[in-house]
């Protein structure tokens, strides 16, 4: 009894907060919002870890990081060992530390989650990754002897980078083919600078390149060269070609000027740096009243981007209530702090344009919540006769997207799944073609960075076994 009491007393239930840029300042710039732990805070947070004998946190990690292991090194002040431990299973810690939904994964499994004070694993991961970057030079990991086997990876996004990293460490010769002019995939074109600085993406890509991975940009597999033609030169292929065509609601007026898919809106700003037009040539509109439709992280990113582009009013239009928002709580909070107005329980039903084809108004219906639906969330039901119109100059549709159609369209013999993506065997990521694996959004539609990386890890292991048996 007294033992237990002592134990309880020792528990530190204060999650250390991470400093952020002041909300009044940050809405005027695209710099990163979260600033990272100072060394002392990181050690304090790491000390809260109970170092469970049978840890659950790492079971919540799609790439299986040894979480208590790296945290213990932080407590000891041995940051270099900490980052090395993470990199055994995760090539992109600075990225995952920032954009993983830890509250749904590792932190949800933490035993302190019951006490509402799980260890801030993501912040600690980010801390050690940034610490390493600040040292200037990443330590080269141990690499296996060359196998002479060649693997082609399609797409330099999170899935492709993970596969390339893992297979390079195992001694295989890897070439990544990237369709765009820069590497990173959604990390680059999708996630804004203020959430994930592009310098970090470039740094991580450079790291993978330093492992001997060859990267060919501006190369659209399926078009520049077909999958089958490429396979004449390679022993195996991983397809991580990512997200495809954006979804729309199929309501009137979606092709009006001023209506953007989130993919377009964010690509203009992030990949093409439209926020610096005319220094960079790709323009982006800077309207004063913007609606963003959707409730996920992409919707939050779009709304917060609109704020930074100088909009007077940004409304997030979502058909369910706040409790059902799929976005990370942290991102919702950031958006609220930055003045995004949440129009909850609101369903867009039509867009009305002016005589020149530009968006002028959005027509919506009010919703109320009914019984839980198949997703377990309470189903929104329209309130009859509750139609109303609100003036907007721009609207960003952020309700998701399908898998990229190019490889499915141009590759015979690939079985597709219900979403139009590539069908894979879950345990291995292998497709219906024995020498082709796939993972990330090309399989799942719109999912998360870390699930794409998890797919990459699984596929890399399977490809390795295949190549050894060859």
């Amino acid at each position: 009894m007294s033992e237990e009491k002592k134990e309880k007393k020792r528990l530190d239930l204060k999650r250390r907060s991470m400093p952020k840029q002041d909300e009044h300042e940050r809405v005027k710039n695209f710099d990163e919002v979260a600033l990272g732990y100072p060394v002392e805070t990181a050690i304090e947070e790491a000390r809260r870890c109970l170092q469970c004998k049978k840890p659950l946190c790492n079971q919540g990690c799609p790439v299986g990081i040894d979480i208590p292991g790296f945290i213990k090194f932080i407590v000891e002040g041995n940051f270099s060992a900490a980052v090395k431990r993470i990199k055994e299973t995760n090539a992109l810690p600075a990225i995952c530390g920032r954009v993983c939904p830890q509250e749904e994964q590792c932190e949800k499994m933490c035993v302190l989650h019951n006490k509402k004070a799980p260890i801030c694993i993501g912040r600690l991961e980010r801390f050690v990754a940034d610490w390493e970057a600040a040292q200037g030079k990443a330590e080269a990991p141990a690499m296996a002897a060359k196998t002479g086997r060649k693997v082609a990876v399609v797409g330099a996004g999170p899935a492709g980078i993970t596969v390339a990293n893992d297979l390079a460490l195992l001694g295989h010769e890897v070439t990544i083919y990237e369709a765009l002019h820069e590497c990173g995939g959604v990390l680059l074109y999708g996630i804004p600078e203020f959430r994930l600085p592009k310098a970090i993406v470039r740094r991580e890509v450079d790291y993978v390149r330093s492992l001997g991975v060859k990267i060919v940009t501006d190369f659209v597999v399926g078009k520049t060269r077909t999958v089958d033609k490429l396979l004449e030169e390679f022993d195996a292929m991983f397809v991580g070609s990512g997200a495809g065509l954006p979804w729309f609601m199929e309501i009137p007026g979606e092709n009006l000027n001023g209506v953007f898919s989130a993919n377009e809106y964010l690509t203009r700003v992030n990949l093409m740096r439209g926020f610096r037009f005319p220094e960079f040539d790709t323009p982006v509109k800077r309207p004063s009243r913007v609606a963003v439709v959707g409730g996920g992280n992409v919707a939050m990113d779009s709304a917060r981007t609109a704020v930074r582009l100088g909009a007077d009013e940004v409304h997030l239009v979502y058909r369910r209530s706040k409790a059902e928002l799929p976005a990370r709580a942290e991102e919702v909070e950031n958006a609220e702090e930055e003045g995004v107005i949440f129009d909850l329980l609101t369903l867009p039903i039509g867009l009305i344009g002016d005589e020149h084809g530009w968006l002028r108004e959005l027509e919506c219906l009010r919703m109320e919540l009914g019984e839980p639906d198949a997703s377990g969330r309470r189903k929104p039901i329209p309130v009859k006769g509750s139609n109303f119109r609100v003036p907007f100059e721009a609207l960003v549709m952020a309700i998701g997207n399908g898998p990229n159609p190019l490889i499915p369209m141009t590759t015979p013999g690939l079985t597709l799944n219900k979403k139009g993506g590539i069908q894979t065997e879950e345990a291995t990521g292998q497709t219906s073609r024995p020498d082709i694996w796939a993972g990330g959004d090309i399989v799942r539609g719109a999912a998360t960075v870390i699930s794409a990386m998890g797919d990459g890890r699984v596929a890399a292991a399977a490809i390795h076994r295949y190549l050894l048996g060859k």
Partner: protein, 277 residues
Amino acid sequence: MYRIIERRMIVPNLHEFIVEAPAVAESVKPGNFVIVRPDDAGERIPLSVADWDASAGTVTSIFMQVGGSTAKLARLKPGAAVPTFAGPLGKETEIGAFGTVLCVGGCYGIGSIYPIARALKEAGNTVITLLEARSSYLLYWEDKLAAVSDKLIIVTRDGTKGAKGHIDRIPELLQRAGAVPDRVIVNGCTFQLMRTAEITKPLGWKTIVNMNPIMIDGTGMCGVCRLSVAGKMKFACVDGPDFDGHEIDWDEFLARRKTYNPEEVDPLRRSSCRSHF
């Protein structure tokens, strides 16, 4: 980087642009386009492919200088390089044994209709090529096109060459040539695509138009190139760029083409001279 073999003004405001891009040259087909960035700060500009030489590894486009980005392209000199030249993108133009095919080209499309006419001719069709320009001095590649066409018809707005008038004269000119096309294929500016489709619709001539919307990635991701075809949302970069011209919502398409008109010309009003700011 992709080396520029040639960049010259072929007629006023239209440029011939030949780039060394062996992987693209190896796979390109009639009707495809490429995405070019003039420099590291540049936009991703879609250009229709007008010719290629697989053995030399080169790809040729004709582009019109319209706004700031194409002005940048127009300043590039042979021997220089562009950071991005990706393709071939879009579905290729359907080439079959259709019978008699009318190929209509205007503006940059006089260039991009050329490989289409050539492939149709090789496939055994009777190819009638009709070129339209404001004036004779805006015509180019007439010899190249004549060589792959059974008949070459020229229409100029001012009558300085060929028939006087514009695209509306198609039915009359074809009748005079004694031909009824089994298919019409149009490459050119948006207005020409639309007008041709409007003219051929009552005649029941199947008309394929090579669309030219605004694009960014050009690979089926961003969705800016969407258009309404037979009432359905389509994406020109992966579903097209060829569509049935009689099924397109032209008013919507023309409006969408103009989305960034002010921004397109904005850089042209700036210069490095301080007094201009």
